[in-house]
């Protein structure tokens, strides 16, 4: 008997079965890979925090071991407190913002004086490779943040840290070439998030 593959009943049954099979398959794949993916995401976050502390290029095991040793999370302040091997204490502030095509985020490591920047690491979801994505890929650009001040003056009155085209001074970092929108977004993220979430922390 030849099936009439164009009858309505056949089409409805066919599509229902197809969708059910695909749904079960995807649910199964997603469930079975989830632990591995979660571990990857966690390890990636740990590596990003270490990157912001200028501990770059560690292997997976090294990164995890170092992280466990030097970093602890202060939930009340939402700050990662890190004790480096030489005894210095640094604070890593997680920041989030909106880039050109998707979210951007940052781990900003500051010295004990809560003003001088020790290091920075940026991440993004979908900035253009080679342009906006440079905020993540270009370690030299991230290194430019080292030693910059968050506040314009010692009394911590005005928040001055920013990213601007062709400006390079105590509180300003030169923008990424060809990525004006992303650079402006980074600047905005630093200003807004530091003001909103960390002003009390930084001033004390």
């Amino acid at each position: 008997m030849k099936l009439n593959t164009n009858s309505n009943t056949y089409i409805i049954i066919y599509s229902t079965i197809l969708v059910l099979i695909v749904a079960f398959l995807l649910a199964f794949v997603s469930q079975s890979l989830k632990p591995q993916q979660d571990a990857n995401v966690k390890l990636d976050t740990e590596k990003q925090i270490l990157n912001s502390l200028n501990l770059r290029g560690l292997s997976d095991e090294e990164a995890h071991a170092t992280y466990e040793k030097i970093v602890s999370f202060d939930e009340a302040q939402n700050v990662y407190v890190c004790t480096l091997e030489n005894g210095d204490v640094k604070y890593v502030l997680p920041l989030k913002g909106q880039g050109m095509w998707g979210g951007i985020s940052c781990f900003l490591a500051v010295d004990n004086d809560k003003n001088t920047i020790y290091g920075a690491y940026f991440n993004h979801e979908s900035e253009t490779a080679g342009l906006g994505a440079e905020i993540k890929d270009n370690a030299d650009w991230q290194a430019k943040f080292q030693g910059k001040k968050i506040f314009a003056d010692e009394n911590k009155e005005t928040l001055a840290l920013s990213v601007e085209k062709n400006v390079n001074n105590e509180t300003t970092v030169d923008a990424v070439t060809g990525a004006t929108v992303t650079s402006t977004a980074v600047s905005k993220m630093l200003q807004e998030q530091l003001t909103k979430k960390y002003m009390d922390f930084l001033k004390n």
């Binding site: 593959t5 066919y14 398959l25 591995q36 993916q37 990857n40 979908s126 490779a129 080679g130 342009l131």
Partner: protein
């Protein structure tokens, strides 16, 4: 039918030259422009598309006689979307760095015209094995262009290949090459060379 009969060989080699998905059919251009500013994502993208085209072709070819004609595009899309989701999940679980680098473009393979084109034009009429060869051929043809353009753009844009610095030009960054517009011009040049030297109209 022999595994590598004349027709089967043609199913594999045609998309590499005479029926090239990018150079002759000019399909899948958008993603070719988007992921080629560096070599590594270009290679991974090429691989992902090759795997997905091959398996989507095989699956559609196996069930081709049961697919109701009126919803065949929907069925094809469901199969492709399922495969793309699986590949993206596997990448996330086992090569996390690369999956982060490719970000949205893995998901966008669903909308790659090469896939739908091959499913409609080849897998719906042919047996699984030739369909598999056709998928692999088209995937490699696509990957080939991505790698050529990616290598060119990374080398002339920033003096490196696969992330290794070859020419030291830290302060000199050729932004023109890293812009997507340049990829279009380069693809145009590759098509021009291909038409002039390798492609003979029948």
């Amino acid at each position: 039918m022999a595994l590598l009969s004349k027709q089967n060989k043609e199913a594999f080699t045609n998309p590499l030259n005479l029926d090239h998905p990018i150079l002759v059919q000019v399909l899948g251009i958008c993603s070719a422009l988007a992921v080629t500013s560096q070599l590594k994502p270009a290679i991974v993208m090429g691989l992902a598309v090759t795997v997905i085209t091959a398996f989507a072709n095989v699956i559609i070819s196996i069930i081709r006689n049961t697919i109701p004609n009126r919803i065949r595009i929907v069925v094809q899309l469901v199969v492709v979307a399922a495969l793309v989701t699986i590949v993206s999940q596997v990448l996330k679980a086992y090569v996390y760095d690369v999956s982060v680098q490719l970000s949205v473009y893995v998901g966008l393979i669903i909308t790659n015209c090469i896939l739908m084109g091959r499913l409609e034009a080849f897998a719906m009429q042919n047996k699984p094995w030739p369909s598999f060869l056709d998928g692999v051929g088209n995937g490699i043809g696509y990957a080939m262009i991505l790698i050529i353009v990616g290598a060119f753009r990374e080398f002339f844009g920033r003096g490196s290949l696969l992330g290794f610095q070859i020419i030291d030009c830290k302060d000199f960054n050729n932004g023109m090459m890293t812009m997507p517009a340049m990829a279009l011009i380069l693809v145009g040049c590759v098509i021009w060379v291909h038409r002039a030297y390798f492609y003979k109209e029948k």
